[in-house]
Symmetry: C2
Subunit: 201 residues, 2 copies
């Protein structure tokens, strides 16, 4: 049965085409024809894979989440300590190279599209809450003596900082070079007493 494999492979290719258009031309030019051109096919194929444009966007959004989730879990698994894991997970969310910069633009494009799309906003909220819980869990593991309230506040600060700087750097890479982002992250981890090397008790 190579048919289902082909179908899912095509779905992934089309989702990547959605990301490509979203990153390169913006939400306003994210048309079915632009996606088809980016994927090297025609609108016919697109509309045979997905019932409509909304479903195409939703699938691309879900696949983006799934890929970042896999990447983050790999980083978490190979980290020696919770603090290393926390830093690695936050680090990968910033816009440090062209790849992550485009991801930030795409993430923002989906968020802007979600304003008028119930399914997309629901997907965003589900993913975002899972993301928050992950960072809260890592923060709690990195500072076991903290209260739940402090864990929540600090985790929220770290999350919004990483996502915020990713969006900032995506929109103005020259003004927010990777070194600035990293020194910001490390300054925050030190300030919150979450840097590797701090006492943990």
């Amino acid at each position: 049965m190579s048919r289902t494999a082909d179908r899912s492979a095509q779905g992934e290719a089309l989702s990547r085409a959605v990301w490509s258009v979203l990153a390169g031309q913006g939400l306003e030019r994210l048309t079915v024809r632009a996606v088809a051109t980016a994927a090297g096919c025609t609108t016919g194929l697109v509309m045979h894979r997905f019932p409509n444009r909304q479903a195409l966007l939703l699938h691309a959004r879900q696949l983006l989440h799934e890929m970042t989730r896999a990447r983050v879990e790999a980083l978490e698994a190979e980290a020696a300590t919770p603090r290393v894991a926390l830093r690695a997970v936050l680090h990968q969310g910033m816009a440090l190279d062209e790849q992550t910069r485009q991801e930030a633009i795409v993430w923002m494009g989906f968020l802007a599209a979600a304003v008028a799309d119930d399914q997309l906003i629901e997907e965003h909220r589900r993913n975002n809450r899972a993301w928050r819980e992950r960072v809260e869990r890592l923060t709690a593991a990195a500072a076991p003596e903290w209260t739940a309230a402090r864990v929540s506040a600090v985790a929220l600060a770290l999350i919004t900082m990483a996502e915020g700087v990713a969006v900032y750097a995506a929109a103005d890479p020259a003004a927010f070079p990777p070194a600035d982002q990293e020194s910001m992250l490390d300054a925050a981890l030190v300030a919150f007493e979450l840097a590797d090397g701090d006492g943990e008790g």
Copy 2:
């Protein structure tokens, strides 16, 4: 000469209509007709006030910046100490009520639109750099003994945190209530030793 006053008043009314559509219907439905409907006029008036849609969006973007700048400068002027000013300026940037929540959505919408619009992205970068310089100046005043590098890193952390949480809360108000945002901000200010009441030397 009530004509120029009328013109600028109409320009402002149309810009507010742009914000309204952007906040309520999203970037994809931000059409000239939708703006005209929101402003209670026809497309004819819109196209007589602005040469094209791009100029309309740019004016709305500039007006948004001008209003937030005025609000921030008023907060800064009435603050007793640099630390109070810093907190107030960061505080107003979060999404704590319906007004600021919509502003965050509009800000994000403009940013998403700027991906394919050279003038909008230039405007965003100019405004963003001015914003960064303002917070760096406030941070330096709040912690005079710091090095420029530390001021820059901490200011960037505070900026991205406030803007990031605004976007998060705008997209999911139930998950990020004002209390969470404020405790996050205060936790960060305490951690960076910028809270009112800390020693300043």
